[in-house]
Symmetry: C2
Subunit: 754 residues, 2 copies
């Protein structure tokens, strides 16, 4: 059924990285739209499960095979809440954590040969091939088993998770075995135990409760509840035989509601899905995805695998983000248990800028989630002793702070700036003033207020003490450049939006001002603090400083560091990291990407040259920012290397932990590295522009985006850039600083900069 | 039996502090040697239990009354070991903690009236008076109960813990009830549960194990073992009737040995104590304490209560410190469960400088304990990524790091300097070269090496990044003045001792050099780094800086802070504290006390004036250092206030947590505030000197000390200072900078400085 081939080009490249052998048996179909993975070795099954996960923002189902499935399924709204235990608890420490845990297992399968269940433990797996069709989110599988009696059993399975956001898994299964009567029986299993704590802080926690407790269990039904959070999860499974296929629908429902209500909802979802049928559902998927792929379609000429990898990345980004405003996009989406299923700043700093341009509805829903948790952010600010404003939790599901190590957790106040940036960027790109005035402005002002509550004046400059920037190898510092610069932009944006709102919707503004008890001159103070924000600069070295003390520390000689000591965080005490010039990830470099518009190219180059050798890229967030700045300063080889790192982070399991879930920000980063990096895209106040380049070895590339309802398609090659507005109002933007105005249905070609 | 009176003078002073009502019913006998406490209200019984605790360094028994005793007894060598749970565990975090827990309860008492046990729950406590005789460590008690039938029962109880260091409690008890046959029955109870975790980080932990497990239990015998540490504790109780008294001896043994061995040891101790008898044991106490009090005798003319309070403080300090080199003096001694029974830096920075002068054998034993754990300190240095040297654990019992919050724990590298200082001070004061060459030098060199491994060169100056100084309201800073200055002195001391050893005992030195693989020029590097150590100074403000960034932060306005928000650590997130100029305790001020010999008086005054208003004194370590510097800079009123604070810290329960155990460093600090403060005592390289003053309102004061075998007695009044060498070799020292030479049996009177 599935064609299995190897790409020589890709393979050669992979072979150069001997330790990254995940790609053996992985390839793409000729058209680049189907990801094919052969084999089911247990040592890489965790990785495959992540890569082939299906999601729709409310449910995620890992790509496990039915015969061996365990802990395959997550729901956006199903998480336990446990007390955080501290041996030494200090005031204000987060008291409880939310932990997203696997729910009832929908993939249970019994295969009866001549009425006798097959023992897959005793059977030999001959071959398994799985194929994920990115155009529909259809995951197909063909597994061949040699049974104990020597006969061969083949199982065919297909599954989809409807992209409309319903927590439903729809599958069809059939089995072949010559000369025998084969029957399939699908069953639900109770929720498995979550992953326990290990030495790796990125995975596993100690759940205070024992996990799910069963409230109802019946044929095709399980209702369980998490005692800590009180969240119940109902799973209902329905199936029928359709010709040769056993069609199985599993519906879920999660929430605080009573068992019977959850059960009814789950059953109704399962039944509705079954009624719809597999073929009709698949057709729906095709249509729903077509619009997305039409807009987001990226390709690099002559680089079919890289193009396909970009699509895999966008597939996960698009499908894992919440659609209903009750959830967002977690660091791992809904593809695994890493980081407890938490949302961090990278949702807004990395994922949202992509989705705002290629799936603005999803971007909006993610911001609505933040609005829904604004009260929790206000409470969090009080918890951290700030009398006013809102501070979003560093890591959370429900909104409250779940960080148990504040130096690299709650101290990262820059999350507020990321959310502010995302609100501004989404509002600009979408023109969605309804959102901006109804929700965005309130968030912007409350989060901007926090900078005033946090910072302090020192003579004529405004300083922010004792915070941690994006680089977690440096903690609790004064005047982190990135934070201060982003706070500066955040304060100005809040002021600008307030002014615009007062002008455009004066009554709504008056009402909001009253609600927020906005003081006389408070917005003026935003501007004053913004103008006075201190951005540390080392005059002697002629270089921007990551923070007030960074450059005074000894440099970590990464070139001389033993290879087996990476990532450093698993081999050194954080204090050792903190007292050196060493970066886990882009910090100042990201500041130059998101806030470098007033910085000269020469100064950016010095930043790149100075900080690049100090950065381990132990965080997968790092490569995309470096790729973008490298492009900007003309370090094309480096840009290409970083682009590849961020693009193949999970397909190659570069960090060895893709089994915990995809690195969603890095996947988003691959699009950023292409569009912001090579394409030179930048927002600019109320518009945007490009400065496209073609990296060495490439012929050209394409991408699309949506700006205020207009659909723009961009094609770049050595001849130049071609911009086409395929739908919507005319667009005005900049190409290499020159204004371009294009009507719908027209295209415009321009030469690249020399 | 006991006379109960109130001191008007004291009471008036106390009444001025309405919240400190512990002193009601507390007084001293006329001669100032007996502390008397009346009453047994349950709300202050925890405090009384601490104040009246008896100890000898190996056992501590709180002053609880038999009828209500619970968790009264601790052994230096009995502690549990539990895994430290971190919700987010990072590399190098301490993995396990030692927790000293109460052992089998020796105070169980049944009183049988006409053969029926008295139910003390139903009886009414009419009065209890307890009296602690500081000259012998005898705790006497008289309790009167009204029984359910209206009759009055009086219980007399006396107890001592032999100061020779044997883990034995010897008691005698009798009861009176007119017209009835009263019988007493003493019994052992199993070890109670340790205090559980609360919101106060200073008390209670979550023990991984369930606590002691019983191995043997018999009449008068309990052998229990802690599953985590494997430490077993045997308790054996023997009693006999001696005239009207029931004499009860409880012997303990603790360690890794098998049950039977521990049992035999405990039984033999109990039996030996019983054979000795109470009167003989008490006589032994009298003799043993006489020498100590003769030397340590402190008194302030006309201030009988303050004099007595100083004696209570020295009593606890002297009795709680380990005598066998297997234990030291914990933050709470053996008087309570606070801080898990851990040893910290204050053992060497506060307690040892006192004991080195008034109980040098005990000081030596405490340093031998550090020598025994030097390998653990080496391992700890490796754990924190230092390739060479030794770093003593911030908090520990067995030697390994037990700190679960590194910013205010393991980051306090200055503990190495405190231990170095103590080694140097003890060696100077005692002339104990045997210790210095056999143990001290190795510790000095290994701990000094760490500064080189930790710090780094920046141009021509040597810096120490990312550590925390004594002030725990400021964490993970660069170039903490105190740390750097103490490291400087530490490096120079190590070099000096090495040079002297090479000269005095060349073979022993050669052997030590080989053992330590001392590199060519390594000692020279000690000196170079010491000479280049950076001591931050703010030229604009003309003030020494607590660290590189302290003075750039906003000042916390303590004068305007609500009174109910102290101690700040219980009301603010540590990040809030870290980002302000606010101090929990003396930091730079302590640096000026221990390392201010090259600092001008004017500069010290500026330090006092600047840092005093920024200090909350939320740590009980603070007052004594402030008292000393206040004296030195002529702030006599302030000095007296701080002296009183440190002297009455536990008698007045100033911090509301004396029930967790005494504040041993503060108790030691009262002697330091008197002798280093008003007496102006300072060590100086190889000698010492005084600059005595009489604070306003005082007539005069006395204290004694021992220096290299000579017994010096000092009397200061408004006429001048009188120094007398009562025994030992002649002494040479300085008085107000002038050299004084006194032969044994002679005294010398000198005028005070004007």
């Amino acid at each position: 059924m599935l064609r299995y081939f190897r790409s020589r080009h890709r393979e050669e490249w992979i072979l150069g990285r001997a330790e990254r052998d995940r790609r053996q048996g992985v390839t793409f179909s000729d058209d680049g739209w189907t990801l094919v993975i052969a084999g089911d070795d247990s040592d890489r099954e965790g990785w495959v499960g992540t890569i082939l996960a299906l999601s729709n923002g409310s449910i995620g189902v890992r790509g496990a095979i039915e015969e061996r499935a365990r802990a395959s399924t997550f729901l956006a709204e199903a998480y336990e809440q446990s007390p955080i235990h501290y041996h030494e608890r200090l005031h204000g420490f987060a008291e409880r954590s939310d932990t997203r845990v696997p729910v009832a297992e929908p993939l249970g399968l019994r295969v009866l040969v001549d009425g006798v269940p097959v023992d897959f433990g005793a059977a030999e797996a001959v071959q398994t091939i799985r194929a994920l069709d990115l155009r529909t989110g259809l995951l197909r599988r063909e597994s061949c088993w040699r049974l104990a009696d020597g006969r061969h059993l083949t199982i065919h399975a297909e599954r989809i998770v409807p992209i409309d956001g319903t927590p439903v898994l729809l599958r069809r299964l059939r089995a072949e075995l010559d000369g025998a009567d084969v029957a399939l029986d699908s069953f639900l299993g109770p929720a498995p135990r979550a992953i326990g704590q290990s030495d790796d802080p990125r995975i596993g926690v100690h759940l205070g409760s024992g996990g799910f407790q069963t409230e109802q269990a019946d044929a095709g039904l399980i209702v369980e509840r998490l005692p800590g959070s009180g969240i119940g999860v109902a799973a209902a499974q329905r199936s029928h035989q359709d010709d040769e296929w056993l069609v199985v629908a599993t519906g879920f429902a999660a929430g605080a509601a009573a068992s019977d209500a959850l059960r009814a909802e789950a059953e109704s979802r399962a039944e509705r899905a079954l009624r719809t049928g597999f073929d009709a559902a698949l057709q729906g998927q095709h249509e729903a995805f077509a619009a997305f792929w039409d807009r987001a379609g990226v390709s690099i000429e002559g680089e079919s695998e890289t193009s396909a990898a970009l699509r895999v990345n966008l597939f996960h980004l698009f499908t894992s983000a919440g659609r209903d405003g009750h959830s967002s996009a977690a660091a791992k989406g809904l593809t695994g248990e890493g980081y407890e299923g938490h949302y961090f700043w990278d949702t807004e700093a990395f994922m949202l800028p992509v989705l705002a341009l290629i799936a603005p509805d999803v971007a909006r829903a993610m911001l609505v989630y933040r609005f829904r948790t604004l009260d929790a952010a206000r409470a969090n600010a009080r918890e951290l002793d700030h009398a006013s404003g809102a501070l979003y939790a560093w890591r959370t599901i429900a909104g409250r702070e779940c960080s148990a190590h504040y130096p690299s957790g709650s101290a990262q106040y820059h999350i507020n700036a990321a959310i502010g940036f995302a609100i501004g960027f989404y509002a600009e790109a979408s023109g969605d003033d309804d959102f901006l005035f109804a929700m965005g402005a309130e968030m912007l002002i409350e989060t901007a207020r926090l900078w005033l509550a946090l910072g302090d004046w020192h003579a004529d400059s405004f300083h922010i003490h004792g915070v941690t920037g994006p680089d977690e190898y440096t903690a609790l510092v004064d005047d982190n450049w990135y934070t201060n610069r982003m706070a500066q932009k955040h304060l100005r944006l809040a002021r600008r939006v307030a002014d615009r709102m007062a002008d455009a919707v004066p009554e709504q503004w008056a009402s909001l001002s009253r609600k927020l008890v906005l003081g006389d001159g408070e917005l003026e103070r935003f501007s004053r603090a913004a103008d006075a924000l201190h951005l540390p600069y080392d005059v002697a070295r002629d270089i921007d400083a990551q923070d007030a003390s960074f450059l005074s520390k000894p440099r970590w000689d990464l070139a001389a560091a033993p290879k087996d000591r990476f990532p450093l965080l698993l081999h050194y005490h954080p204090m050792t990291l903190y007292r050196h010039q060493v970066c886990k990830q882009a910090d100042l470099v990201l500041g130059m990407v998101l806030g470098g518009e007033e910085v000269s190219p020469e100064r950016k180059r010095r930043v790149f040259d100075y900080y690049e050798p100090l950065t381990t890229h132990d965080s997968t967030l790092s490569a995309s920012s470096f790729a973008i700045l490298a492009s900007e300063v003309g370090e094309h080889e480096a840009a290409l290397r970083f682009f590849r790192d961020t693009t193949f982070v999970d397909l190659e399991d570069q960090h060895g932990n893709t089994d915990h879930g995809v690195h969603m920000a890095s996947l988003a980063g691959s699009w950023l590295a292409l569009v912001w990096g090579f394409g030179g895209f930048r927002p600019s106040g109320e518009g945007f522009g490009f400065r496209p380049q073609v990296p060495p070895g490439w012929t050209g590339y394409r991408f699309g985006m949506c700006w205020r309802g207009s659909e723009l398609r961009v094609r770049v090659d050595r001849e130049g850039a071609c911009y086409e507005v395929v739908a919507g109002p005319a667009l005005t933007f900049a190409h290499n600083g020159e204004t371009v105005h294009i009507e719908a249905g027209r295209s415009w070609a321009m030469a690249l900069a020399q």
